[in-house]
């Protein structure tokens, strides 16, 4: 790995930038590894990186059915925040936000983390009460969040329509100033490059077709399209395909996979300074550094692996966006796409051990996994390295669907995250 620095950039400029090595080599699988991570998205690559850099395990393969970062890592709306209601969630997501800070320097890769603030709008009395409860809960947990009046919202985000006759009147909003966005592809690329430099093998276009278990029930390795690869520890970080991978080990999971859509507009000059979310009308919007408006829609109502969603879902979101931001009513949309999100019954992730010895899981992030990328990677790595969960992810176990000890973020916000 050649470091990115001013000096190296200058030196390369004189050579026509022909001396940069590849970010990561495309490896053929070895016969055996200490740890196999299934899924080369941000979470899986992050886990490999932290295993190698923090927890001293370097003989790792990350196996990916498609291409690196081509799943939900490359399909989300890049929003980062940690203003979740419950203590467990606040600690989990804030662990990630703390890691986002300084990640560009740590990886020597510009992930473009921009703390431009996430403003969550309140449109009715229930929204106001819910937002203020969130703010109080967040502050008790050391997570910044503050209440803005409608006028303060308008000052923070000028395109906002706060007129009392608006279709979705703005009564105020909750602002997390540390929230913001990052460049999603860069996160995967940065982790991949640094992990590869530490000796991690990244194996793309190699679908896992089975999980082999020994007579004692423990995992022995994975069957893949390119043959059997042995490992005594397997971490699955496969998002929408988690149910499929887990069935290979004989496990049934409390997950359902839905399409979630997003879209971007034509690029325009900087007009939108922050991230605005409106949970009650399903509108999530920010502007990328390229100038495109990045808009997130809701999920479709049915289980699907098609990576595309219905048009009426997009229409519903755009109708709300045009009402809240009338200046965007004539923007043209350039691209729309879908990702498959794995949703748990309580809308909180499952991150920890499974009933199968040596098999670890990181799933159920639903519609909001990007913000957690560094935290999820770190905690999955910790859990694999110590064979026991960290105290931050211990509550996010699989057992809670039997014991009833939910972390019910669905009920807390009445919306998927």
């Amino acid at each position: 790995m050649k470091r990115f620095s001013g000096l190296n950039l200058l030196a390369q400029a004189f050579q026509g930038h022909k001396g940069w090595p590849e970010h990561w080599p495309d490896k053929a699988p070895k016969a055996a590894y200490d740890v196999i991570i299934v899924g080369a998205g941000g979470h899986g690559l992050g886990a490999a990186y932290y295993l190698a850099s923090k927890y001293g395990i370097r003989n790792i393969a990350v196996i990916e059915k498609g291409w690196l970062g081509g799943g939900n890592t490359g399909r989300n709306t890049t929003i980062i925040r940690s203003n979740y209601l419950y203590d467990e969630s606040a600690h989990l997501y804030d662990h990630a936000v703390k890691l986002w800070d300084g990640l560009s320097q740590e990886l020597n890769y510009n992930i473009m983390y921009s703390k431009r603030g996430v403003l969550m709008l309140a449109h009715n009395v229930h929204d106001v009460q819910s937002a203020q409860r969130h703010i109080n809960a967040n502050r008790l947990n050391g997570v910044d969040n503050e209440w803005l009046s409608a006028e303060e919202c308008k000052a923070y985000c000028p395109p906002l329509d706060i007129s009392p006759t608006a279709r979705h009147p703005v009564l105020g909003g909750a602002l997390q100033r540390r929230g913001g966005t990052a460049r999603h592809d860069s996160v995967a690329w940065g982790y991949a490059r640094k992990a590869a430099a530490l000796g991690v093998d990244i194996i793309q276009n190699c679908a896992v077709t089975g999980i082999r278990r020994g007579p004692d029930g423990a995992v022995q390795g994975v069957e893949t399209e390119r043959g059997f690869i042995a490992a005594s520890k397997i971490g699955v970080s496969a998002a929408g395909s988690t149910s499929i991978v887990m069935q290979m080990a004989g496990l049934e999971f409390p997950l359902e996979s839905y399409p979630l859509q997003a879209l971007v507009s034509e690029p325009v000059k900087p007009v939108f300074p922050c991230v605005v979310m409106s949970n009650s009308v399903h509108a999530y919007i920010s502007q990328s550094d390229k100038g495109e408006l990045v808009i997130g829609a809701g999920t479709d109502q049915y289980v699907s692996y098609s990576q595309r969603g219905a048009f009426h879902i997009v229409e519903h979101t755009l109708a709300a966006i045009c009402e809240i931001f009338p200046i965007f009513s004539r923007m043209r949309m350039l691209r729309t796409w879908g990702g498959i999100v794995d949703v748990t019954p309580d809308r909180s992730p499952i991150l920890g051990k499974t009933p199968v010895p040596g098999l670890y899981v990181n799933c159920g992030w639903g519609t909001g996994g990007f913000k957690a990328t560094p935290g999820a990677g770190d905690l999955l790595a910790y859990t694999i390295a110590h064979d026991t969960p960290h105290k931050i992810n211990a509550p996010f176990n699989l057992d809670r669907f039997r014991t009833g000890r939910f972390i019910d973020e669905a009920a807390a916000a009445a919306v998927a995250h």
């Binding site: 149910s243 049915y302 699907s304 669907f401």
Partner: protein, 90 residues
């Protein structure tokens, strides 16, 4: 948007008239008070979530208002068939 055939109305109608009711043919416990935690977990939360053939419930909310079952491929989203509630799984 999906076009869905309602087996009661016997018409192909747009998806916005329907509400998806999740996985079909999950048997309700006959004697709830004797259910173990594992059985409750299985009944309430564990789902097949298959990649391929999926049995699911739909309700024709903005039509006849009745529940029915469907078989749909979750990769192509194409319906194989729909049939009335109470009929055996197809």
């Amino acid at each position: 948007m999906l076009l869905i055939h309602c087996p009661y109305c016997e018409e192909d109608r747009p998806e916005v008239e329907f509400v998806n009711g999740g996985q079909a043919h999950i048997a309700r416990p006959v004697d709830p008070s004797t259910q173990t935690d594992e059985e409750w977990e299985q009944y309430l939360y564990i789902r097949r979530n298959p990649r391929g053939r999926h049995h699911e419930r739909w309700r024709h909310t903005h039509g006849c208002g009745r529940f029915f079952n469907a078989v749909r491929d979750t990769v192509s989203d194409r319906f194989e068939t729909t049939y009335k509630a109470g009929e055996p799984a197809k």
